[in-house]
Amino acid sequence: MTQEHPPLTEGVYYILLALFEARHGYGIMQFVEEMSNGRVRLGAGTIYGAIKTLLERGWIEALDDDGRKKEYIITESGKKVMEYEILRLRELFDNGIRITQEDGTNA
């Protein structure tokens, strides 16, 4: 897909959302599980891989390492990405509701 802002994976979306507050890896895992009522359970390996990629892209940054557990937080460009993603999701949502509900009244 050639889009300026390609869709995020569910995992990345929730990780970025989790990092609107500073959290370490395990904190992200718990947050995502709670937010999604246990539907999305991210593996530690997957979260670690995503954190590395997001750091490289500059969408999140590591806070000063004061202990063994590193904490991360979303950056300004990360927040921009989230904004676009939410708009994209709203478009999907609105179109979905509109068409399926029209279909519902016709049936």
Binding site: P7, T9, E10, G11, H24, G25, Y26, M29, R41, L42, G43, A44, G45, T46, Y48, G49, R68, K69, K70
Partner: protein, 178 residues
């Protein structure tokens, strides 16, 4: 208790280790082919394996530390092959929950197996034709080349299994994202 297994398909080994755990035998140590189990309450732990990337010590420490802080216990390590476990009462345990990482992990294994098979096939076939070209049969060469072909046979099944698994995941990825 010790058991011996050749690690060709790591997913099969992981499945076997979990079957042992459900019977109350817990993996404690392993070195390449030797697996040491200890007795305990059946079904208390879920085991998962990972293969660390070889050249990246700093990243490796960080990753292992990360897993530890997530409540995952490192059981033992042999080379870049590591086994982890987590208490079963804490719920399902997976290291990788996204298909893309699973596919790229599978691809690495497929590549290694493919080259092992190809190399053994070539050495085996070229060698075999040489073994009979002399007046006397070269028994040492012959047994070596038969061993080459055996390796090809033994490794081919896991290779096809891994390729099938990867194909399945890729097809899912056409429809589902994660």
């Amino acid at each position: 208790m010790h058991k011996y297994r050749l690690v060709v398909n790591p997913y099969d080994i992981e499945k076997w280790v979990n079957e042992m755990a459900s019977q109350g035998w817990y993996l404690q140590k392993f070195t390449w082919i030797r697996f040491t189990f200890e007795r305990g309450e059946p079904g208390s732990y879920i085991y998962r394996h990972d293969e660390l990337e070889r050249f990246g010590a700093s990243y490796e420490d960080e990753y292992l530390e990360f897993l530890k802080s997530s409540g995952i216990e490192q059981v033992d390590r042999s080379g870049n092959f590591v086994f982890f476990r987590k208490p079963a009462y804490e719920g399902p345990f997976e290291l990788y929950t996204d298909k893309k990482t699973k596919i790229s992990n599978l691809s690495k294994k497929v590549t290694v197996l493919f080259w092992v098979i190809l190399l053994n096939l070539m050495v085996g076939i070229i060698g075999l034709s040489g073994d009979f070209s002399e007046y006397e049969v070269d028994w040492f060469g012959l047994s070596l080349n038969i061993a080459n072909l055996l390796v090809v046979l033994v490794f081919s099944i896991p290779l096809f299994k891994l390729i099938r698994l990867r194909k399945h995941l890729k097809r899912d990825l056409d429809v589902f994202t994660d």
